[in-house]
């Protein structure tokens, strides 16, 4: 079961935390992980991209057009990295815009042509309602874990999250994760896979 996952966002959104969570969860399932992160200037509000290969990979980077998944914590960063998705891949995006407003029309036509499935979630909204902006990344992971073919099961990822979170934020993180995951039903009929 080999999966290539590209995570994209902006410094401060917890992209690297999400990466580590997925990697830890995969290892707990006995799967090897390889990947690459961007550091350095990224802390200063720049784009952050990280590449994660679960299964057989040995090289750190994903080639354009071959990612099975893009998890984008920011809509602009989703656009910026869209070229990585493979035909038939899935994109999970955090966006405040009204669902169906992402992606813009010319792009969505192309994605349809490539048979790419799309999941949008107002993860920032979920996080805001919970009173902690920084859990948006966890909400998005929640949704991702419910997507058809996602390499890590919802329960397993939730368990890894519970282990990785400090006790005082545990409840909040699990709530964000569940709210993201529960949004999956919204997509039930739209599934393009």
């Amino acid at each position: 079961m080999n999966n290539k996952i590209l995570l994209a966002g902006v410094g401060g959104q917890g992209v690297l935390f999400a990466h580590q969570l997925l990697a830890d969860c995969a290892l707990a399932q006995g799967l090897d992980v390889t990947g690459a992160e961007t550091h350095g200037m990224s802390q200063r509000g720049g784009s952050v991209v990280s590449h994660l290969k679960i299964g057989d990979g040995i090289a750190p980077l994903i080639r354009q057009g071959t990612a099975d998944w893009i998890l984008a914590f920011d809509a602009a960063e989703a656009y910026r990295n869209l070229a990585f998705i493979r035909c038939g891949g899935t994109i999970v995006v955090n966006t405040q815009s009204v669902p169906n407003n992402f992606p813009a029309a010319p792009v969505s036509q192309q994605l349809e042509k490539f048979n790419v499935a799309l999941r949008v979630l107002d993860a920032d909204g979920i996080a805001r309602n919970l009173g902690r902006a920084s859990v948006a990344n966890v909400a998005l992971l929640g949704l991702a874990s419910t997507c058809v073919g996602f390499p890590l099961a919802r329960a397993a990822l939730r368990e890894t999250l519970a282990r990785a979170t400090r006790p005082q934020f545990l409840e909040l993180n699990l709530q964000a994760f569940d709210e993201g995951a529960n949004k999956a039903s919204d997509f039930f009929n739209e599934d393009k896979l």
Binding site: D32, M41, Y79
Partner: protein
Amino acid sequence: MSQTVVLGNEAIARGLIESGVNVMTSYPGTPSSEILPAVIAWKKKLGLNTYVEWSVNEKVAFEVALAASWAGKRAAVAMKQVGLNVASDPLLSAAYTGVVGGFVVISCDDPGPYSSQTEQDTRLFAIFAKVPVLDPATPREAQAMVRAAFALSEKYRVPVILRPAMRVAHARQNIPLDEIDATPRPAQFNQDPTRWAATPRYRLLLHKELNEKLGKIEAEFERSPFNSKLEVGSWKLEIGNSNATNVHPPTFNFKYPIGIIASGVPSTTARELLEEFAVDVPVLKIGAVYPLPRKLVSDFVARCEKVLVLEEPDAAIELQMPDRRNVMGRLDGTVPNAGELSPDVLYPLLAHILSEAKLINAMPPPRDPGLGDALKSIPLPMRAPRLCPGCGHRSAFYSIRRVFPSAFFASDIGCYTLGTNLRAVDTCLDMGAAITVATGLYHAYRLDGKNQSLVATIGDSTFIHSGITGLANAVHTGARFVLVILDNNTTAMTGFQPTANQARLADGAAGARVAISELVRACGVTFLREADPYDQADFQNVLKQAEAFTQAEEGGIAVVIAKRPCVLYDRTPIVAQPVPVRVTDECDGCKYCLVAFECPALVMNAATNQVEIDRRICVDCGQCVEACYKGFIVEAK
């Protein structure tokens, strides 16, 4: 055996701990900065008796660790590749003197480059210095190579370089947690002046001795587990696996149309791509790069019609190959001679070579350009790096621009290089060069009888790293300029390592504070003021006095220490005294504040054509009030 998912640098740290490293020094620099902190974390967790330090620069770090090795301890030093330039003096000499306890030099390269001033190749430096170098392809291999490097260093008594590229240092992979070497290594320095204080006569002998060692090491590298022949169909073999089979080709005279020699990250990328192309191409993976096992390489080349060499960032293997007639690589232009060999670069390159050799039928069709074209129609925000909201450097640069409208601005390496965004940085050469560049510019203009206004800016850590010598030189030669030392109380850019200006050591223990102000005075500077750049009126006043001093008859260099802690590192001053601001209705959208102050929290609302404050990232520093000269940014009472 238990496994854990870690960053490449953390895998290296684990390798150091497993090797029983006794002394570890470093100077921070991306992409090497996480190694020492990870060693410290293990030291604390396991209660190890390890000495660690953030040294004031790479040369110092190198020498401290080297001397510990002379005393019989296992020692390591870590830095980024340009740091090795700073440490090159002791490196070249240490190759001759040799070592006693294992001594491993970790120098992280930055193909790209992503956060460095050059794409230089540490492996070429190793060849120049005559020091063996190992080139890991993955974090797992890096961890194993650290242990091998210590053994090699102790066996032949030479320093050994480990050269992880950024995509290894910042790769993330699961690694095994192996056993920890607990061999006691008591300090015992054996006085031997003919070695440790060798005069040129003895240096010749040491040089010959080094050459002999290198010959033996090359022979050892012929059989190194890090140099493995991966025959057709075996690319999936775990990297670093010494059981790589050496299956002989079907017939005696058979030659593969194409063979690949690769090291480091490109070796992993190439293997994944070969799998994708599903072609029969043998790979010789070289992990021990210098001295190159020439027999192994020649034998491989002899069995192929053509050989492609893939390595980063330069041509260390290729340059060492005795016969390059059938070799394609960087030297003949097949492989680009700048930039990272990402899979997006290697894919078309390999496809072309494989189709020329008729190993694949045709070039794979290019991807449908529709998506790329559609994406072009979407405007994306520029996310160029910027100083953080509330960064004291921004306030300092803003004031500098106000007081010195026509100065040249020599600057240096750190977050504050981003002062380019405020047009307050004209030069950035290397660590410490703000002061020497200002000195050179001063003397150049003075030759013409011109009085050019000059401002140099340098950070606290960079000043201690290598600004001091430049300052002593500038005072001594009578140069005149204003030097602003941006003291934010930490090494911010690389992750908040303490500087010698603080009383905190690498592992949190108490150390002695070496005050920057005292260092400045000791260089002979007579004009020295400290000021808080947040108090912009006062700060600008001090800058004006400083300028006057550089012009006065008895004047000279004027030094201003701008003291304001990094907002990312220490929020306490802002939390204690928040100054929330708002933009009034009168804002006419002139964008002056956006250009001149460029705080990321100041954003244009396209709908209202007025500036507004992005509350998610504004830190309530109140500094932008100054930046609207019309008075439309005000304190929110």
